[in-house]
Symmetry: none
Subunit: 413 residues, 2 copies
């Protein structure tokens, strides 16, 4: 079965809103094992909508529309569906009753423009909308299904959860259960990941794979299906294990896990506390670590040492070292990490100092040059990176590299 979403609304085409409804529905269809083949955004121009609906009826079996059910002139979804399928619009008394109830609640009376909202294509199974004035519907015709929901996100979401999902589950009991797992990778580029696992991926027939690139991590998604939940889980796990073997330490987590959560769990397990000393990232590393609820268990705080005086006073980096090597140097990164560890009473100190640009570069030190260090009570390790991207991206990448340095360190503990 092929599914298609039609998002109706000129405000999407004019760039006034982003169509987030389609994403919600897409996720639901994946869970049901239904293949979504197209998302079409179309204006509320009658001829445009008519031709999009005709096309959808040719190429898809399940069509879900959102939007265009309101009371104004440009809300033409039901009229146009009726035209597409040569159906009459008929009055649904239960829609009128609900409309009166809703309007009474918000102390309004029914207006002539509201009245059109109670006419739906004949044969439609009406869905009463307790969240707003626009009724939704499911209509079966010629072995195809078209259903229409309001464009207001919370109305659409509630009605789809309460009516469409149970309807589809009953109508198309999934014979196969389809699931995905995602491996999250940091420190490798998209093409390197692809090169490492290409041969494996090409040999598989039970799985499909996708590789996606974010600013600082790469995700490999494995999808498979089987007749039981247990079977799917087993299959997925075997593939995840294989991939993890091939990608090694670059894999930092699965699915929704973030690197700051992974690091947080390692710190908690090993009962270690960390503090940060940040120059070019200006607080971003601390901000990332503290996104995780409960991070006060392992995060002491830190120093944002943007100015050299702060490095001297709060991190005890000697003036001579700053003068001799410059603020962006391995020596300063090292002393920052050691200083913040001691001054913030933590087991581990991490530091970042770099040039995030666009200004501040010299002949020898280019934009994107970042030094980072990790100090514990025995030793200090340092890293040098030449990062790529604009100012903010360099800062994000530097913070995530520092988190990854901490992750690798903790795994070896």
């Amino acid at each position: 079965m092929k599914a298609e979403i039609i998002s109706i609304g000129s405000e999407i085409l004019r760039g006034q809103i982003t169509d987030t409804n389609a994403n919600f529905i897409a996720k639901k269809l994946v869970e049901l094992g239904i293949d979504l083949e197209h998302i079409s955004v179309v204006s509320d121009n009658p001829e445009s909508l008519l031709s999009s609906l005709k096309l959808a009826f040719q190429r898809s079996d399940l069509i879900i529309t959102t939007g265009g059910l309101g009371p104004t002139e440009d809300d033409i979804t039901y009229q146009t569906i009726a035209r597409t399928l040569n159906l009459k619009l008929i009055k649904y008394p239960e829609a009128e009753e609900n409309l009166n109830k809703i309007l009474k609640k918000i102390h309004k009376t029914i207006s002539p423009s509201n009245l059109k909202q109670v006419y739906l294509p004949e044969g439609a199974k009406i869905i009463i909308n307790q969240y707003g004035t626009a009724p939704a519907m499911i209509l079966e015709k010629d072995n195809k299904i078209i259903c229409s929901f309001p464009g207001v996100p919370h109305e659409m979401k509630n009605l789809i959860e309460e009516y469409l999902i149970p309807y589809l589950k009953e109508k198309f009991p999934p014979s196969m259960i389809k699931k995905s797992k995602t491996l999250k990778i940091t420190g490798l580029g998209e093409s390197s990941v692809n090169d490492l696992i290409r041969d494996y991926m090409n040999k598989q027939t039970n799985f499909t794979f996708g590789i996606y690139a974010n600013p600082e991590d790469i995700q490999v998604q494995v999808t498979t299906q089987a007749s039981t939940e247990k079977e799917v889980e087993k299959l997925l796990q075997s593939s995840v294990n294989q991939l993890t073997k091939m990608l090694g330490n670059y894999v930092f987590g699965n699915d929704e896990e973030t690197i700051e959560e992974v690091v947080g769990n390692l710190l908690r397990t090993k009962k270690l506390k960390v503090a940060v000393a940040e120059s070019c990232t200006g607080g971003m590393l601390g901000e990332m670590i503290t996104r995780t609820p409960g991070s006060s268990e392992y995060f002491q705080g830190g120093v944002i040492s943007y100015d050299a005086k702060v490095k001297e006073d709060l991190l005890k980096v000697p003036t001579e070292v700053l003068k001799k090597y410059g603020e962006v140097s391995e020596q300063v990164a090292r002393l920052m990490a050691e200083g913040v560890r001691i001054n913030c009473h933590s087991d581990i100190g991490i530091s970042i100092t770099g040039i995030s640009g666009p200004g501040g570069a010299t002949e020898k030190k280019k934009v994107g040059l970042v030094y980072m260090a990790l100090a514990d009570d025995e030793k200090t390790i340092t890293q040098k990176h030449q990062l790529f991207g604009g100012r903010q991206l360099i800062r994000v990448r530097a913070s995530r590299r520092a988190l990854n340095m901490l992750r690798i360190y903790l795994m070896g503990k």
Copy 2:
């Protein structure tokens, strides 16, 4: 002229990401006066993409694709465009040169999968991508235009701004010039903004208005058109002036201006330096201030005082005060701001201490309770807020309130 966007990527149809690229392009087309009639999302299945491209060539004059230009097997945009139009794929040496340059910068060598990225349909005007490995292109054929951009948002945005917009402006000089201006407002809710300007908006016939709500600011967009650039600017400015009069100090900026830029400009003009002391925000306020290039001119740094010991040692908040009033209190906020001002050698100290949740609340101090303070060499002012939202939203809101407190303070200086 009819335009169409094709967003290519199975990850959109599987609900893994929301297609935000289309929204960006839609906005740009509005500015150019070009009608966007369709947005189509299609998978990276070759046959699906082929039929979508064929349809687009039938019904649209300008086709903009995003996605599917990467190095992996499922990146098939150029191959499929070539098939659709019966063109050969040919090697573009300038693409190969750029690829080598980019890979060298990040210390990687060209891999076999990268190599396919240098083949584009013959006749394409190549757009070298200095932000990534995938070249973009503009191709004119049979009085139609197809252009392809990477799916990575920042690459797509930069390349469209730098190449596609100037190209379209020259090719299709708009008869009427349409422009928008945005007022950015903080400290007022959407319905309050609406109430303050409703009468004015209803009386206008030359302008259209939109009010949009973000997590921490409200935007009012005014749009108008006229035959000359100068005329449009004049009209827009008159409306912006009227609206600003009605909304007063709540307006912090226009268009793309951010509150941290506005604050940065004020600090620079008044030659003042600021330092931050952050508890619940964990570094976010510092991170926001340092997003602006050149912020080292007015930002000294600060202390992330997550743990009480850091408040005592680095901010000199006395143990007794912490014990008596608790870490989340007006008294502690005050001493944090004063302490960081002195210890970081700045003119102004700002502090935030609060409960961002989900843990840490008590009977009297609920999640979302945030105290902030601003200290200069004469006085310290404090604010108390009860903020709403999840952990991260409370932290964003707290940081932006603190920036707004600083903005109002600086305007009064």
